[in-house]
């Protein structure tokens, strides 16, 4: 509690401190920059040890789940919740833009699907003359590499706009600040950073909303006191921790017995965990912080001859198909994969000098049972690692680009 209060008090100071600090730690400055390093000391950025839950953000995302989104529901990747806008008139240009994209990685199916969508969107915008080129640097899940990538883009001085998909929140903050200092537009998406210097920060509603949707589904479909196994990929990633923080809070409050495990998304691990849980007693519900590997969990129940659980997975095709084949009671929460299109569409808006939402909150609607058949039909022929809400149906390469990986 102490730490949380102190955190709250220092959040504002921290933002200021990191901004000031960034001035003196610019990768291209000479050592004389130490001169203005008298900024106030930044405090802890994030608490450790299971303190991911933040009531204010929880409440905000709880509301956002039922918020009205501006724009056409047919193109959800352009929808946003009404709020402050960033003026982009100064960057308006008729020349095609050179985009520099610092990507965290393409090391999981969700990012692979999104990156394909992004490349198809790029092709479309190159066709229409909005974008000249996009230079991509892939950090391979390493903060240090991504910082070097961003610093290289800055030093090269060849970028009209920066797109950054941060590998982690706090560690990438100074580098994003440096990109902002170049005066060029900076677009951050997916995971966030601890600075609001970006022109726009694009993300679906968020992890708490995922946690609330999934927990409410399990609570509605299970008796209090039911045993729920939570399968989590790995600790320490904000978008995943928030999902669990919200779900754990609600499930525990509803009197459920929850047991959480880290799986690394490895189906072997998932299957063993469920098998062990089943050998120790009944399992009524399975909660996942990402659907990757969900099929292994379902098969563990089948192999043990146990009744299939009430389950929440994700909009990954493997899960939707398994859910459909077995007729389980399930929900597919969505961490909108179509957000990978939005950064490039934001570049188009910036080139046109149109204002963009400063915090661009995209819709994030779980797939419920009555929507499943449509989702499956719309994505027929896609590989198991594909995500139903990828939002690329109207792009030129559809469907081959997503089918032939």
């Amino acid at each position: 509690m102490m730490r949380k209060r102190r955190m709250g008090l220092t959040v504002a100071a921290l933002a200021a401190a990191t901004m000031l600090a960034a001035c003196s730690t610019d990768g291209s400055v000479s050592p004389s920059a130490t001169g203005d390093a008298s900024a106030p000391p930044p405090a802890e950025t994030q608490a450790s040890g299971g303190e991911w839950f933040d009531q204010a953000v929880f409440d905000e995302q709880f509301e956002q789940r039922s918020a009205t989104f501006e724009g056409d529901p047919e193109t959800p990747w352009l929808q946003y919740i009404d709020g402050p806008m960033t003026d982009t008139a100064e960057w308006a240009s008729d020349e095609p833009m050179r985009v520099c994209f610092a990507n965290a990685s393409i090391s999981n199916p969700w990012r692979q699907t999104g990156f394909i969508t992004m490349q198809q969107q790029l092709a479309a915008l190159q066709e229409s003359g909005v974008i000249e080129s996009m230079e991509v640097r892939d950090a391979g899940d390493d903060d240090n590499t991504q910082i070097a990538d961003i610093d290289f883009f800055i030093a090269q001085g060849d970028c009209d706009v920066y797109i950054i998909s941060p590998n982690s929140t706090a560690a990438l903050t100074p580098a994003v600040d440096r990109a902002c200092e170049t005066g060029k537009p900076v677009i951050v998406f997916d995971r966030g950073v601890d600075t609001d210097c970006a022109t726009t920060f694009i993300h679906p509603i968020g992890g708490y909303a995922w946690g609330i949707d999934t927990a409410e589904f399990l609570i509605d479909n299970l008796e209090p006191g039911s045993n729920i196994v939570a399968l989590r990929i790995l600790p320490g990633v904000d978008v995943l921790e928030h999902r669990w923080a919200a779900a754990e809070r609600l499930l525990t409050e509803a009197g459920m017995t929850v047991d959480d495990h880290f799986t690394g998304a490895d189906p072997t691990e998932i299957k063993s965990i469920i098998t062990d849980a089943l050998s120790a007693g009944e399992v009524h519900g399975v909660w996942m912080d990402a659907g990757d590997g969900a099929v292994a969990a379902i098969e563990a129940f089948e192999d043990a001859g146990a009744e299939l659980p009430v389950m929440t997975g994700e909009d990954e095709m493997s899960f939707l198909r398994a859910w459909d084949e077995r007729g389980m009671t399930a929900l597919a929460p969505v961490y909108s994969n179509f957000q990978w299109r939005t950064p490039l569409l934001a570049v188009e808006m910036i080139a046109n000098g149109e204002p963009v939402p400063t915090e661009w909150v995209l819709p994030q609607e779980p797939i419920e049972e009555d929507e499943r058949a449509d989702a499956l039909a719309a994505n027929e022929g896609m590989p198991d690692g594909h995500y139903a809400r990828f939002g690329g149906e109207d792009l030129p390469g559809f469907p081959e680009a997503w089918q032939d990986r």
Binding site: S24, P41, A171, G236
Partner: protein, 338 residues
Amino acid sequence: MSAVVGARPVRRRRLSTTAIVFIVLAAVLVLSAVLVTAAGKPFFTAGNLAAVLTLMSILGFVAIGQTLVIIAGSLDLSVPYVVSTASIIGAGVMAQGPAGIVPGVLAALAVSAGIGAVNGLIVTGLRVHGFIATLGVGLIISGWLGTSFQGSFGSAPPEFRVIGATLIAGVPLSTIIMLACAALAALLLHRTRLGHHLYAVGGSASVARLSGVRTKVPVVVAHALCSMLAGLAGLLLLARTSVGSPTIGSQGGYDLMSIAAVVLGGTLLAGGVGSVLGTIGGVAIFAVLDNVMSVLEVNPFLKDFIRGSVIVLAVALYAWRSVQRRPPRFRPGKEAAP
């Protein structure tokens, strides 16, 4: 006495291998420049060179330490977790402000050295193979990190972060510190009794022991120094990222990559033969390779394929040369039996 005599033929071969390392590095540089220029992009720009040197410095610290341990005949798989631990401890102490910098650095290095000493004691005292000992210690630390820190922790004051962002004549300060550490390590290896003992113990522990060398001390010291250097890498990462991170070490894959860099630098994995200079060359080869693949936007998956192939080809080249040079001997390259 005989340890020193035993080290002599070893040194002659070491010099020549180091020369090959730098010839390979030069070849990689030329090839990279050609490829990048052919792709219509600049290679020898200040920004790009700074990027290469920055990439070098972090892996460099770890690889220098790994060199010491490998020369002594052991190896260290716990380095990624030591890197993370140092970044966490440094950030935790420094969160109080600039006054915390010195205590933070000292605390991080002390804890790192302590972990290294434990590694060394398990290897020498409990007679557990370095592979298993450091794998186990790495697991122990990773459990602690994963339980106690679920996200970034603490912070580094701007005065400390300057280290990660300052360039002196186009060379990152971090690279200069790394090269200074390399020089110190080279001095230790070649100019001190402890250094000679490291070679002797790594070459053949039994011969070293019969020659009156206390075989345990050099191994423990090498492990402690290795972990301290990994701690320095963690502190440098802290300066770059501004926060402590429990996963920053494993993100970089510094365990296997540092061992690969050391061997790429001509050090024998079996122990007893090797040099810090060669290691710096090996690290540079990696950094240039990674950089050129980034510039050319090589598919991230294909990067691993190229890395793996280069490691094997380069090491095969060294081994082929040393075999060529010693045809009549019974000793195959890697079994350094006396």
